[in-house]
Symmetry: C2
Subunit: 509 residues, 2 copies
């Protein structure tokens, strides 16, 4: 493919994407294909001879679109927002077009220096403390990771390494293996399942602690767990706190937890994957109370901050702790040409030029544009909250930022039927969640295209299903039985509270 063909193919792709967004509201958010549908749509082997690009776009229409879940449909209310914006898309096009990656500064000065600067722009926009900035005097700094899962793992490994070092300093007759096998970490049972996965990968057992009635991890529960573990000779090393839990967007008590972490010399990692973006609005900064205790902080611009995947932002109070865990001894040069050396704070060795898309997004939206986006989405959630409150068949359980949880009064049966029917009709994509042992409809304002008319559409869809259910339930109960094989396709098959963990998995981007 020569540059002329690239110009044609690239521009046709831009138009395809623009057309897709102009018509996305008309599509069912969920596809109707059967499992294995794609097998018969494309050959079993790659073509021997190359094909013209003109054959590709019709095949995207024929093969991909029918099986695609429209994550940016205004009727997508599952999981969390997955950022997509036009400046973000062009940023991604640009960075892959230049195709310029980096390891250390020498390998690509622009790539490293723009990331260092963009992470500072971002920290300042969120009101994070000065000590997290790359430009600060101290050892703090920020870097772009692939995913929150990876950030949690990096935080946990840094905390593990720091604790081992601290304990060995105090007890010179222990070996590092002896310390490692005694380590234990803590999180709440409401934290994302990727936290548990990180503990599996890092070989540090993770206690899933109970929360208060608002799904928040509190200091007394944590202190009790630590006390019990220490009595058994274990060594607490890390807490992963959530600002905005996956299920109900609850906020762990950072001040209570932080004070304990400081006292016990434990690493405190904060997972604010979704809710962190709200900090761009000063009215949400109170959520940062206790931030002074935090060792590492993560939020995903690729969730609610309009920056296409992948882009997960992570800051450290002391990057030397990460370097101690990740930097191989042989790699220590006498005097680096440029600091910070962000390549030592991550798992992969190289990095794509992701800072470019952050730069595009922050400039084209501006601080005000992103604030407007957040406030608009919260206002849509509040609008839905009002609709729920006005209908006394429904019980409102939670409303936090863009997440609204509600259910039908009574036991879970009716709410389960509502969820099943929503999944069957495929006009909305909504996930269930268990809150205080009650099944609820977990509704999230996700797409940046969602407007008041879409909330009305969703609410009308929900109400009309409930109307039908009530009518049918009065007339002939047996006819409402629904083919469970169809229902399960929406991942809404009968759930028990224990299965929230499974749902969590899907809720983490």
């Amino acid at each position: 493919m020569d540059t002329q063909q690239f110009r044609e193919f690239g521009k046709a792709a831009v138009d395809y994407i623009a057309d897709y967004f102009e018509t996305i509201r008309d599509r069912n958010v969920l596809p109707s294909v059967e499992p294995g549908y794609l097998k018969n749509e494309i050959p079993e082997i790659a073509p021997v001879s190359g094909e013209p690009w003109q054959k590709i776009l019709p095949d995207v229409d024929r093969v991909v679109l029918p099986g695609l879940t429209h994550w940016h449909s205004p009727h997508f209310h599952a999981y969390f927002p997955t950022a997509n914006s036009f400046p973000g898309v062009v940023g991604e096009l640009f960075l892959s077009g230049l195709g310029s990656v980096s390891t250390d500064w020498q390998s690509n000065p622009a790539c490293v220096e723009l990331e260092v600067r963009m992470m500072d722009w971002l920290a300042k926009m969120l009101g994070l403390p000065e000590h997290f900035l790359n430009e600060s005097e101290g050892p703090g700094g920020g870097v772009i990771q692939n995913a929150a899962s990876e950030s949690t793992l990096v935080g946990l490994l840094s905390g593990k390494q720091r604790t081992v070092r601290n304990v060995l300093e105090m007890n010179q007759n222990l070996t590092s293996e002896e310390v490692k096998e005694k380590l234990v970490a803590y999180t709440s049972k409401e934290s994302n399942s990727s936290v548990e996965k990180a503990s599996l990968l890092a070989s540090v057992p993770m206690r899933l602690l109970p929360t208060d009635s608002d799904c928040r991890l509190r200091g007394d529960v944590l202190q009790e767990a630590i006390k019990k573990d220490k009595a058994e000779g274990l060594i607490p090393c890390c807490v992963v706190a959530s600002l905005g839990t996956t299920g109900t967007c609850a906020f762990d008590d950072l001040e209570e937890i932080g004070r304990i972490c400081r006292k016990e010399k434990m690493w405190l990692h904060v997972d604010a994957a979704y809710a962190g973006a709200a900090l761009v609005c000063p009215e949400y900064r109170y959520l940062l109370n206790g931030i002074e205790y935090v060792d590492s902080f993560n939020f995903n611009p690729h969730k609610w901050f309009l920056t296409n995947s992948d882009c997960s932002a992570m800051w450290f109070k002391n990057t030397k702790d990460a370097e101690a865990a990740f930097k191989l001894k042989a790699t220590i040069p006498s005097q680096p040409l440029f600091e910070p050396e962000i390549q030592h704070w991550q798992i992969p060795t190289t990095r794509r030029f992701r800072a470019l898309k952050l730069w595009f997004v922050m400039r084209i939206y501006g601080v005000e544009g992103i604030q407007k986006h957040i406030r608009h989405q919260v206002s849509l959630a509040k609008y839905l909250e009002k609709l729920v409150r006005k209908d006394d068949r429904f019980e409102l359980l939670i409303s936090s930022l863009g997440v609204v949880g509600f259910r039908l009064e009574g036991d879970d049966t009716l709410t389960q039927k509502l969820l099943d029917k929503i999944a069957e009709r495929k006009n909305l994509f909504i996930m269930p969640y268990y809150y205080q042992n009650k099944l609820m409809v977990r509704f999230v304002v996700c797409s940046r295209l969602t407007e008041v008319i879409d909330i009305d559409y969703a609410w009308n869809e929900i109400k009309s299903i409930v109307d039908d259910l009530e009518k049918n339930s009065k007339q002939e109960d047996e006819k409402t039985a629904i083919d469970s094989s169809i229902l399960s396709r929406g991942a809404l098959n009968s759930l028990t509270p224990d299965l929230n963990d499974k749902l969590n998995l899907g809720l983490f981007l």
Copy 2:
């Protein structure tokens, strides 16, 4: 930004990228900026109000381009190829434009099913054994990871988990903690530094074994190391073998190593990050001798296979081993709607729709197109090899696929001066390497734009530097002293053999 503005901005970006590639040969491959150059080029904070997109492209020119290393310049001969092709760029544009990600099948059928099929296309193109295919009857399968570093970590954790399970089955009075602390893994000292990093993250000590004179890990050395460790009560669990080492593109003896792994019940992971792409040509399939012993195999389409970052392909002989290490118990549903469940073979929870770009690349190039690319790049390396051989001032050390290593006769002084001068002039980007304790020029054919004229250009540059060095050395030795602060910028400052590890870091994408 509305869709109309996106059409304009997107198409302007396509033209920018096309123009960039049309003029890339005219630019110095290495930038000339000072460390910290970007600080004064852009503000310290994000703009409050949004800016028009028209302001962005001139700033890419003004701020980014001067500090950019041109990784796709035909004069870039450092590290390894970093894939960039027009079908790959449009694929990346498309997948970020649709912005559709996936967790399990329910979340996005097209995204999951296309990846499953593309990994089979790829395995068949490379001539990998049937048992790695997703479509095979058995438990084998393939998935796209972010990076080879991540694939190595996933392989190592899978092997760790399998060994713990095996040992516990045989010794029911041991605890899993007792087994874990006895585990040990092996690789060669020529393997990429990310292998050592993976061992750090997975908490499994990694022995860096010596190689034979061709930089290959051999069975006798491995067997000896295992014997010694077992005598000390340790439990060997994993070998990471390289097909195409980072420094000299050497191939570990897979048959010898594989037989030992089978006998000792150890996991065998193969890192073929760069060289794996050559398997698309049948004449290189002999490199797979011993593949029947391999548990996990990784190569990076984002290196030599024309698919833009990130795209690292990984296959398992038995995916249940990976699931045992990565799948949380709570996430096991009674009966999945679609298999394989590739989301359980990776660290992050969600995946971008990277299969789209693989589909675009394999269709637009076709098998023949990719074969032609590989053969052409190897032929250019052979062409350089001939030029080196013809000039008796030079000693050819290695020539393997697209990697050529040579030096000036005599001690390292002259070769060091040559490397320093290359870095100072910035017309070529080449890395040094130590081979059998001799400093060499490690020259790699990287860019898909490199042609015979560029090899001639490089060779003339090298020869003219050597001519100057010889002339100067005869006339006045002291004048050849070069400001070391300039030289170090090319990462070519005085090296010792031990520092190959540091170089390795940068050589892994």
